[in-house]
Symmetry: C2
Subunit: 349 residues, 2 copies
């Protein structure tokens, strides 16, 4: 097997020494680049997900244009419920919408069993093609939503403020909720295993909505299934990253799932978290994505503050604390990446 | 001065012994009661705020109907910017909207200086009338948004997902941001002082959006002004409550602002927080409002779990971890209040 030319990201995931801190951005493929929007103008979102050549193209754009240290495959977490038979619409105004959300046993029974290697083959093809096109320049990350986060969209049917339907299902029919979550955990484990098989060098589990649960409910309805996935992923030594936005109360528990890396949002204190779990895992994060709308001096100061907060030594992957926002200025993103690359050298000596 | 017939809430704020844990709910006045909606059907939201007789009526409804241990004056945090000259619309679909948000120095200069005792006299009249109508049955709470939370609405002009405009203003024109926040802090301090003067037995500062800031930015742009307000409120011994949703990183700092009570959302661990700051302050919270959509057995279990989490002894005011949701069933709310009253006796022996 050929070797990665830039393996900083992989080494940092394993807490091995690096020359500088690696950096990539959640949602870097898609969303902000004009080059992405040019592709997107020609096809709708789902077609883009389902066309390996195009998915590969937009995945590699930020490597070429921005100089990030890892690529993350262009896709969407909702391809799983879509493959299970839920009709998905991506509305510009409202975000993703499922016409018929899952609210009861009957709705759940109508979902079909899927084999990700067949029903989500287009994603695996995109991974394989991207791996080939990247030609070992940087590692390629595969990803999935966590069962709980997928569940919120499947039950709510669209974005939500209070997650009332999803939470009511947890409270009033925990047995059904657990059945759905368990099924999703099995699918996600197979899906991420297949991505690794197709060439992904690492995988990330996004628990975007873990933070809306109480600690007790997070442990019962989200963490349990993240743990199950990590136990079941077939991998040799590809790192697993868990990003659970807002889950300030359970970082130690996440560190003990078998994850190699814990992602942090911008409300977490890298220094404090490193003291708590830095022996066990690497940390990824955590600049507020809105800082990229600030003047370059502010961006640079924030990069320096975050690097100093983590401190010296390996085990830090620089990232945003959430996905990069649409309309972020490419020039500012380039400056941000440059600052991380320059300013992090002294922390890795 | 006559004495409160039920002063459990005030005693718990001061960590004095109580026979049982007092309970009230954020947003209990307005939103969920059919009796409130009957009043609201006749007048628009702002008219209701500005009509002391009606504001008083809906303030007292949850005392009569639900049996809460404190009343909170019916009003809205946005009456302050409205009094400063910002045209406010309450849209059913979109929430509060300011037609002309504050984005620069010029916008800010156009706002008028206000004296809450004159420009917000209608709120003070509502407080005085409610105090009279309550006839010392339970304490009356006055409230305000924190400067940062008011700032987010004034700058965004409406609800926001990323607070991009508000945060950009912090980053790119911190001087202007501080001027606005400082002005708001002065107004809020005068406003809450006037509410106390008018008869409020306690005041609460809502920092609903403090949790969207990094720890550093929260300290600089929110906490500083909350501290200033608390220093400047004219009061004898009326307790001050600070509720900063999502601000898991700065609870100790909030406890040292001079606040008597710190409000917690449902992602916080009462037991852990009590260990950290329970000597200094009382704690208020923290049931997830969506639990009120669960079966009564689930509600009861959750009440018991939260009481056990705080543990024995005074200093706990039971509340939700955020405002009660519209469409919450009155019968479930009654059951919830009953469970708190019954189950908390043994924790206060």
């Amino acid at each position: 097997m050929a070797e990665l030319k830039n393996d900083l990201f992989i080494r940092a995931c394993k807490k091995q020494a690096v020359e500088r801190t690696p950096v990539w951005m959640m949602r870097q493929a898609g969303r902000f680049l004009p080059e992405y929007r040019a592709v997107r103008d020609k096809v709708d979102f789902l077609t883009l997900c389902k066309t390996p050549e195009l998915a590969s193209e937009v995945t590699i754009q930020p490597v070429d244009i921005i100089g990030v240290d890892a690529a993350i495959i262009f896709s969407d977490i909702l391809v799983i419920p879509e493959a299970m038979g839920m009709k998905l619409e991506m509305l510009e105004s409202k975000g993703p919408v499922f016409e018929k959300p899952i609210r009861n046993e009957n709705d759940f029974k109508k979902l079909r069993s899927i084999d990700p290697t067949k029903n989500l083959k287009y994603v695996l093809d995109a991974v394989a093609l991207t791996k080939k096109n990247l030609n070992y320049r940087v590692p390629l990350i595969g990803f999935s939503g966590s069962p709980w986060t997928l569940f919120t969209y499947m039950v709510e049917g669209c974005g939500s403020k209070n997650f009332l339907n999803a939470k009511s299902l947890l409270y009033n029919n925990p047995k059904l909720a657990h059945s759905i979550l368990d099924r999703l955990a099995d699918i996600v484990a197979e899906y991420l295993s297949a991505k690794i098989e197709a060439g992904a060098d690492a995988v990330q589990i996004f628990d975007t909505w873990g933070g809306v649960l109480s600690q007790k409910d997070f442990n019962e309805f989200s963490l349990r299934y993240i743990s199950k996935i990590i136990s079941n992923i077939k991998r040799s030594d590809q790192p697993v990253i868990v990003f659970a936005k807002g889950v300030h109360h359970s970082l130690k528990e996440i560190a003990y799932t078998g994850a190699n890396v814990v992602g942090l949002d911008w409300t977490m204190d890298l220094h404090k978290v490193r003291n708590e779990i830095g022996e066990k895992v690497s940390l990824q994060g955590n600049m507020d994505p809105t800082v990229l709308f600030a003047d370059e001096k502010v961006i640079k100061d924030e990069v320096k503050r975050i690097l100093a907060s983590y401190g010296k030594g390996s085990g830090h992957i620089f990232n945003l604390g959430h996905g990069i926002l649409p309309n972020t200025d490419t020039e500012k993103v380039k400056a941000f990446i440059k600052y991380v690359k320059e300013e992090s050298v002294s922390y890795n000596k």
